[in-house]
């Protein structure tokens, strides 16, 4: 499946990698819930590494949507909260 590493690009990964990603993802959500910045950073890094090491980088000009989106691996706890829970860290796309 196609996975996007935010801030980096898209990769094609196999089911085995996807399964591993989901496990790490659950733990990352728990770390965010617990406010454990160090653990969150570690898990986000492990997720990104799993994709980088086992996936194939897709060319930038591809227009296929991703099936999974992995948050940036250097996201701080405050940024993660803002991204997922608050007003949103991603600004609205430019409007008229």
């Amino acid at each position: 499946m196609i996975v996007r590493l935010m801030g980096e690009g898209q990769y094609e990964v196999d089911d085995e990698v996807a399964k591993g990603l989901n496990e790490l993802d659950e733990q990352a959500a728990e770390a965010l819930e617990a406010g454990d910045e160090e653990r969150l950073a570690e898990l986000l890094r492990r997720m990104a590494d799993a994709v980088r090491l086992n996936g194939a980088r897709l060319p930038d000009e591809g227009l296929s949507p991703s099936e999974a989106i992995v948050p940036p691996d250097d996201l701080s706890l405050a940024e993660a909260r803002e991204l997922f829970e608050g007003e949103g860290l991603i600004p609205d796309l430019p409007s008229v």
Binding site: M6, G7, L44, P65, I69, P71, L83, I90, L93
Partner: protein, 242 residues
């Protein structure tokens, strides 16, 4: 509790789905989306320029601090040579404070460098996708019926919308980091000019003045000695020739 990946997907989709809702007919949707992509490309370019400017400012501040370090070191030596260990100690204390500031500035400059690299990569990816989208947009407009076009547009727009949200996040994060670093740089400037942190970066500091006083004192002594020598012993009062 939902995982972070599905939450990230939701956030990303919510950002660009608005884009697709705006226009009614397919051709209009495509053109509108393309227009927004070009705007975002401009934004990311501006973002890169802002980071570069902020980085230059930090680098300039680093240079100034470096110069102050050299000066403080020289002043400490002068003070010591003049037998003023108290002044020498003062200069070295200031020097050590400045060194800490310098280290933190260095880390910040590196942080900005990373932001710059990320933005450049994001611009490259977005730029490639925008070009691909433009080609696809013309193909869709030329070859498909309205109903078919709707499906194709959905696919292409989802792919690029995801990149747009990603680039938007990169711009926002770089902006936040740049702003906080600029605030710190301003704080250092302010401390420096107010003298709270460092009076030593200005031309005439307390240390300069004290050292100057020592130097001029010894010059006065030297000249006095010289005059006394020229006038004889200097012990007896003599009438000066008119």
């Amino acid at each position: 509790m939902a995982g972070l990946m599905s939450r990230a997907s939701l956030v990303v989709k919510s950002k660009f789905s608005k884009l697709l809702d705006r226009a009614e007919d397919p051709a209009e949707t495509l053109d509108y989306s393309y227009e927004k992509q070009l705007e975002l490309l401009q934004n990311v370019k501006r973002g890169i320029a802002d980071v570069v400017t902020a980085k230059k400012r930090l680098e300039l501040q680093e240079q100034q601090l470096q110069q102050s370090l050299v000066k403080l070191d020289a002043q400490a030596r002068e003070a010591l040579a003049a037998g003023r260990e108290d002044l020498a100690r003062q200069a070295l204390e200031r020097k050590s404070g400045l060194q800490q500031q310098l280290q933190s500035l260095d880390q910040q400059t590196q942080g900005l460098q990373q932001q710059q690299e990320k933005l450049v990569a994001s611009e490259k990816a977005l730029s490639a996708k925008v070009e691909a989208f433009r080609t696809q947009k013309e193909t869709i407009k030329a070859q498909y019926s309205a109903a078919e076009a709707q499906v194709r547009i959905g696919e292409a727009a989802t792919g690029i919308g995801e990149q747009m949200a990603d680039t938007g996040l990169a711009i926002q994060r770089a902006k936040d980091k740049t702003e906080s670093m600029q605030a710190r740089a301003s704080a250092i400037d302010e401390l420096t000019t107010s003298g709270a942190l460092e009076d030593f970066t200005t031309d005439q500091t307390q240390l300069d003045r004290e050292l100057g006083a020592i130097a001029s004192q010894s010059q006065v002594d030297r000249e006095l000695e010289q005059m006394k020598a020229e006038l004889g012993t200097g012990e007896e009062k003599k009438e000066l020739q008119p």
